[in-house]
């Protein structure tokens, strides 16, 4: 018995070893760009020019990070990326909050307060998820101009809320579709109206889907370049557009180390959001997938 099971055992181990080898290979492959960015952002410019891109820094320096943050030349002023980082925060926080809240409200109405034609309304909102960004640029510019929000952070918030509503509604609708109707009925019998049922019963049970939606919206809005480049003026420019201006500026020397540091700075918030709540993201997506 023990004799015969020995080869089977070791071949299973071999298989497992291969599996891990492949997984590690892929992990390295995916992490390599990040490694290059991090390593080169702490080298001096001379070292980058003279040496290997993959090598560890010989003279470790934070100078490029400080430059990228506070004194790099963006456009005409040597302000660094910091004001644009603030711009992005000022845009992302309200846009994510409003679109998530409205998505939850839409999901609630579409599943628990059904009305004639609700499926058509949902279908149209779903359709919004599939409209390419480019198509809405000109009409949106027109709308922003008409209501006087062109070139402002508020304008960008509006654009992102409108564009994100399709996704957030989809997320919440599917989550709430699996939420038992009897609970809503019980709340009705208990005397809770539309809003109190929403805030006291539904929202407190929506943790996973809120996390999913917030991550999704935060990442998309923070990383958006097209809307930022199209609708923001110089004072409301988000981080992504400023980074592009930094990297593609045609004056002077190409400071690769500063560019790398700036790119990492721009990517940092989404990275942090993923690390902090990534496991909820996976859990939430799974829950939605199985139940919805």
């Amino acid at each position: 018995m023990a004799h015969s099971s020995q080869p089977a055992f070791s071949s299973a181990r071999l298989l497992r070893a291969c599996l891990y080898a492949v997984l590690i290979l892929f992990a390295v492959y995916y992490l390599l760009p990040l490694f290059v960015m991090l390593v080169n952002s702490v080298k001096t410019l001379d070292e980058i020019r003279g040496g290997n891109m993959m090598a560890f820094p010989e003279n470790f320096t934070f100078e490029p990070w400080l430059t990228a943050w506070s004194s790099a030349q963006i456009g005409v002023e040597p302000t660094g990326l910091s004001p644009y980082f603030i711009n992005s925060i000022l845009m992302v926080v309200p846009a994510v909050t409003i679109s998530t809240f409205l998505g939850a409200l839409n999901g609630y109405v579409l599943t628990k307060w059904r009305f004639p034609g609700d499926k058509i309304v949902f279908g149209l909102m779903l359709f919004a998820c599939f409209i390419p960004f480019q198509i809405v640029l000109i009409p949106m510019a027109r709308v922003l101009g008409t209501i006087g929000l062109a070139g402002t952070t508020s304008g960008l918030v509006l654009v992102h809320v409108v564009y994100g509503l399709g996704f957030t509604t989809l997320f919440f609708r599917n989550y709430y579709a699996a939420f038992p109707d009897e609970l809503i009925k019980a709340a009705k019998m208990d005397g809770a109206g539309f809003w109190r049922t929403f805030t006291r019963i539904l929202l407190p049970s929506s943790g996973p889907i809120i996390v999913v939606t917030v991550i999704w919206q935060f990442t998309n809005i923070w990383n958006d370049f097209l809307f930022g480049a199209s609708f923001a003026d110089f004072d409301s420019m988000p981080m992504t557009v400023a980074l592009n201006n930094l990297v593609s500026s045609s004056t002077g020397v190409k400071e690769y180390n500063v560019h790398f540091a700036g790119a990492v700075l721009a990517a940092l918030p989404t990275l942090i959001v993923y690390v902090v709540s990534g496991r909820y993201f996976v859990r939430g997506l799974m829950a939605g997938a199985v139940k919805g």
Binding site: P180, L183, K185, A186, A187, K188, M189, P204
Partner: protein
């Protein structure tokens, strides 16, 4: 005047009529059970009483006041749901207090009420737990507590026992009956389980396809079914429905491998005797066919039948014979000594026999 009056209620979803002209009255402190197979409209009727569904035509009155236009919360009705519908984000105490909180009752009053109800239902030790940490029976108690705490005029139960295992179901059934006796509350209870209906109800309404088939006390429903559907649906094992032919004052049923069995009556109901030579359906409960050792009642006829299958059930023995081409269940005493594939003497209690029209299924009286 009745406490709860359901007056000619109809409900349709588009072209589908779910409830058709339903009229039921319940006295104060009564226990009305709505029973029927799935899709018969019983839950819809309950929801219209609760106000969760609007009725199409008709009226529902409580103590003479029409409640059709009131919101569910304003009807002073509490409901216990099939899944219990406990709010998963709140603990037991908050669950019970939620209805009071929504009505703006101050916190100390709320706490006192919750404590009182928790004591009655013996769930004081559970007040800080979340519904997810409770067993099925405990959830059921909490759901009842949430209904009781508001002291409503009317309780609605929507199949509250169907999620429990068999043993617990019997216990909780007793619990509900006890609650009804203790508080004297008026209850409307929906179930598809005819045993629950028989044990709990003071009045039973048997529904099928949105129509009330029969409305009466459990004894009336059981002994005096108004059509074949009610006869077949209520009682376990079900009533035997045997094809037979009328011969003057007697009815005749074919018997496998033997002469037909003839049961002679002193007097058949007029509608039956008028069908001399025609077919009728004879309805007879298993306990009305018993072994010769038991007293079958004063007007009994003894006959010999061949037993096909014997099913001992502890207190009784169910023996199956064939009459009129149908399997017929008989209920014999546990000391009966016969066995399968042998002939046995059976007593037919003529007082307990009812007749149905084979085409319409309606009772012939």
């Amino acid at each position: 005047m009745s406490f709860l009056q359901i007056d000619k209620v109809c409900k349709s979803f588009g072209p589908i009529n779910v409830l058709r002209d339903i009229s039921l009255d319940v006295e104060e402190g009564g226990f009305l059970v709505l029973v029927g197979p799935s899709g018969c409209g019983k839950s819809t009727l309950l929801n219209t009483i609760a106000g969760l569904e609007k009725l199409t035509t008709g009226e529902i009155r409580i103590e003479g006041n029409v409640i059709d236009d009131l919101e569910p919360a304003d009807r002073n009705i509490a409901m216990v749901f099939q899944s219990y519908a406990l709010y998963p984000n709140m603990n037991v105490g908050q669950n019970i207090a939620f209805g009071l909180e929504m009505r703006g009752m101050p916190k100390d009053e709320r706490d006192a009420k919750v404590a009182e109800v928790a004591k009655t239902l013996q769930i004081e030790h559970l007040l800080d737990r979340k519904p997810g940490q409770l067993s099925g029976g405990q959830r059921q108690r909490v759901a009842m507590g949430r209904a009781l705490v508001r002291n409503p005029k009317l309780f609605l139960f929507d199949e509250p026992l169907s999620n429990l295992d068999a043993k617990l179901r019997v216990d909780m059934r007793t619990e509900i009956k006890r609650m009804h006796q203790t508080f004297g509350s008026t209850i409307v209870y929906v179930t598809h389980d005819q045993i629950e209906a028989m044990t709990l109800g003071t009045r039973i309404a048997v529904l099928k396809d949105g129509i009330v088939q029969q409305y009466g006390t459990p004894a009336e429903i059981y002994n005096d079914p108004s059509n074949m559907f009610v006869a077949d649906f209520m009682g376990s094992p079900a009533m035997n429905l045997i094809p037979a032919t009328v011969r003057g004052h007697a009815i005749e049923m074919s018997r496998a491998g033997d002469d037909p069995l003839v049961l002679s009556f002193d007097a058949l109901p007029v509608t039956v005797s008028a069908r001399n030579g025609q077919d009728v359906i004879v309805g007879i409960r298993p306990e009305a066919i018993t072994d010769a050792a038991g007293r079958g009642g004063e007007k009994s006829i003894q006959a010999t039948c061949r037993i096909d299958v014997v099913e001992p059930a502890g207190a009784d023995i169910y023996a199956i014979t064939t009459l009129g081409g149908k399997e017929v269940v008989t209920r014999l005493h546990q000391d009966w000594s016969g066995s399968a594939n042998q002939a046995a003497d059976l007593l037919f209690n003529l007082e307990k026999i009812v007749f149905f029209d084979p085409q319409s299924g309606e009772r012939l009286r």
